[in-house]
Amino acid sequence: MAKPNEIIPSASFRKKLAERGGDTATRCYQCATCTAVCDLSKGDCLFPRRQMLASQWGLADRLASDPGVWLCHQCNDCSERCPRDAKPGDVLQTIRSLAIEELAVPRFMGRLVGNAGKTWPLLIGLPILLWIGIIFMDNGFAVPERVDYQIQRAGLEISLVDAAYAQDAHGEAAGGAHHGVEHVPGKENRIIYEELVPHKYIYVVYSTAFLLAMVAALAGAAKFWKLMGQGTERKGTFLGAFVPVLGEIATHKRFGDCGAAKTRKWAHFCLLWGFFGAAFASALLIVALYVTKDPLPLAQAHPYKIIGNISLLLLVVGAVWLFINRMTDAANTGTSKAYDTFFLSVVMTVVFTGGLTELAAFVFPPVLASIVYVIHLSAILTMFLTVPFSKFAHMVYRTLAMVHERMVQA
């Protein structure tokens, strides 16, 4: 770890930064227009000029511990006004991806995800192999037959629910209805995925992955908090700063202060609340499944269902909105590099194969449906395991940077 006045330039960091989309940093001549035009840059946590300088020198340790890197919401006011077209907005975005890598616990996971442009076959392949192994050990690839059932359905379900009621349906075939689901043989043909992957494996694998991700995220957070605090004096309590920060995040206040890319505020707002809503609805579903033992699938009018559907709507609206922005206003959305592409691809794969799994159960040949289902399960695992090292990690680091900023300026 560097002493406060120690400068540790790293040529390899500079090279990595250039490869990942921060190559324009070399154009910077330190005029400081960027910092002066930024509406979010203030007090002791200024950006982007300092970070541009640190990028040119390759001061990886300073950038990894710099709150300014995360306080940026990438509105690209700076890139628009930069007299050298050094694109500080894009450089900061690249620095964030490299900072996630620097802060990653364990480090190798940070590097694996950071280099997704090269390592993606591994990141996607290993979970697939894991599921294939489990399936092989459990039933030696006994591809399920399509069975005739009439299921009284009440609309969209997420795949977990689907699997759950499919189990019920299967149970009914074996003799006896559960949870009030009415099954009438002979009307509908579908595959029961639980015959391929029993639920116990799903619970064990995802619980473990979730736990690992949480531990890694907390370890990264602790590391960042410690590094950020070196040489500065924080005042007040963490909680005292954390509560107003949560308020800022909930209302997207800083996004609103951002100049050049104002429309992104509401798109990101939809995504954030969509994600939270979906997570909340999933938690409620577990309550419904095991605590209140509500009949599944839930009726459309069920409050849990309404929360889930609104969240889904928000996610779709936010994603489409951002996608359109990206297509129509390339200058203000920055560059999408391999790291970003990987993150987006995994999320899209989860959503896409989720929907396809539903459809496949009814129309695909059983072998193909099974393949889609395994890809879906694997993509979810990839997503879970890479959360602390992917773009998702900004939830942790940006929040901490905002808390830190409040505490040093208190």
Binding site: Y29, C31, A32, T35, A36, V37, C82, P83, R84, D85
Partner: protein, 417 residues
């Protein structure tokens, strides 16, 4: 083969006048063409020029006298080049001279201007003041003859004709045209300031108290719109704080990508003006780099020693309206690493120079570099002098013009260099 036809110099600013005189004093006939009604160009619009800080009239007066006394220089003011074609070893050039509403019987008595009911924004003072439609262009104008903006006249008005005792005014004068054969051409069309309106992020064209460096020159000039008093355009108040914003639209891919080479020195010079007249006023110069090449570094040392002049490293990002008529600047002080929200009363944007070669006013096909500055064309006997060739100060322009005159003289002899 020696082409004895005259040389032509286009533009009678300090560069064009110098090129014409050097060639004439070397024995060449010269036609000096100037679009404005008098010679002297932008140099005369400066209050003082560096590094000696003497008024430009003294340098120009000397040159004017040289022009006046040299029979080899033919000066055509109010004249533009309408067409130019290569003709054998030289050029055939068609010139258009604006109607001579006021002829050489004018005695500069000012009776016409007193009688004139129409006013126009004063081009010499960059539009900062209104002047009568008929007037002497400025105090040091040569030729000393009144000029009339005919477009500003009311229909049927003959107030000036009636006031003139000498019969010097002819409202029916017509534009004249002539074609001349010349052996070589020096283009010295100079520059114009980068438009303030394009710098609206810095308040340019939006806030009245955000002015450009060329406007500042007029504000301190005794013959300027305020009689030489530094006052804010909005309310006429004497500024307690003046801020200079360097590289306003210069070294910037969104504006002029190049350095104009003079703005740092101009601001330092203007900081001295302010301290001379308003010793209590605090001056701050916000810069990216302090570019004072060669012996001009002396200027930096002089400014550095002045009390109440602060040099802050950091490009101003925003200029906004502050409280109580003040202006608010947002800038990062790079050396201390602090973000400043500085208040000031008057902002001077150090705008750069744009080459006039892109205006299409001269039909000569001058090759230009990426920034619009002209390149010599030996084969076409077409040479470029002064700021039309590159951004530079008065002293460099004069040296440059001497070189261009020499090149043109040699080319006219038919020798290739």
């Amino acid at each position: 083969m020696n082409n004895s036809a005259p040389l032509m110099v286009v533009g009678a600013g300090i560069s064009g006048v110098t090129a014409a005189l050097e060639a004439a004093e070397a024995g060449r006939e010269v036609i000096l063409v100037e679009r404005d009604p008098s010679i002297g160009g932008r140099v005369l619009r400066s209050h003082n020029y560096f590094p000696k800080l003497c008024p430009p009239s003294c340098g120009m007066e000397l040159n004017t006298r040289r022009v006046e006394r040299n029979p080899r220089v033919r000066v055509l003011t109010g004249t533009t080049v309408a067409a130019a074609t290569r003709d054998g070893e030289g050029w055939n050039v068609t010139l258009k001279t604006a109607p001579a509403y006021v002829n050489d019987r004018c005695t500069v008595c000012n009776e016409c201007a007193k009688a004139c009911p129409a006013t126009v924004p004063d081009p010499f003072n960059l539009g900062l003041a209104e002047v009568p439609a008929i007037r002497l262009p400025h105090l040091d104008a040569w030729p000393q003859r009144y000029t009339l903006d005919r477009d500003a006249c009311g229909s049927g008005c003959t107030a000036c004709v009636d006031a003139c005792e000498f019969g010097a005014i002819d409202l029916d004068a017509k534009e004249t045209e002539e074609t001349v054969a010349v052996s070589a051409v020096v283009v010295a069309t100079g520059w114009r300031p980068y438009p303030l309106e394009k710098l609206d992020d810095l308040g340019g064209g939006v806030l009245p108290d955000v002015i450009s460096n060329v406007m500042m020159e007029r504000l301190v000039a005794p013959a300027g719109p305020t009689g030489g008093e530094i006052k804010r355009p909005s309310d006429g108040a004497v500024p307690k704080r003046v801020a200079f914003v360097q590289c306003a639209g210069s070294r910037d891919v969104n504006h002029l990508p190049y350095c104009s080479a003079i703005c740092c020195l101009a601001s330092m010079k203007q900081a001295m003006y302010v301290k001379e007249r308003l010793p209590e006023t605090a001056v701050t110069i916000y810069y990216i780099d302090r570019r004072t090449p060669g012996r001009n570094e002396e200027m930096l040392n002089r400014v550095d020693e002045l009390d109440g002049v602060e040099l802050v490293k950091g490009k101003v990002g925003k200029v906004e309206r502050g409280a109580g008529g003040a202006l608010k600047l947002r800038v990062e002080d790079v050396e201390s690493g602090r973000l400043l929200e500085a208040e000031t009363d008057l902002v001077v944007l150090a705008t750069g120079m744009v080459s006039n070669l892109d205006t299409g006013d001269t039909p000569f096909a001058v090759h230009t570099d990426d920034d619009g500055f002209g390149l010599d064309d030996n084969a076409a006997k077409l040479f470029v002098a002064g700021v039309a060739r590159r951004p530079e100060d008065v002293a460099a322009s004069v040296r440059d013009a001497t070189g261009a005159a020499a090149k043109a003289c040699v080319a006219a002899t038919g020798r290739t260099q």
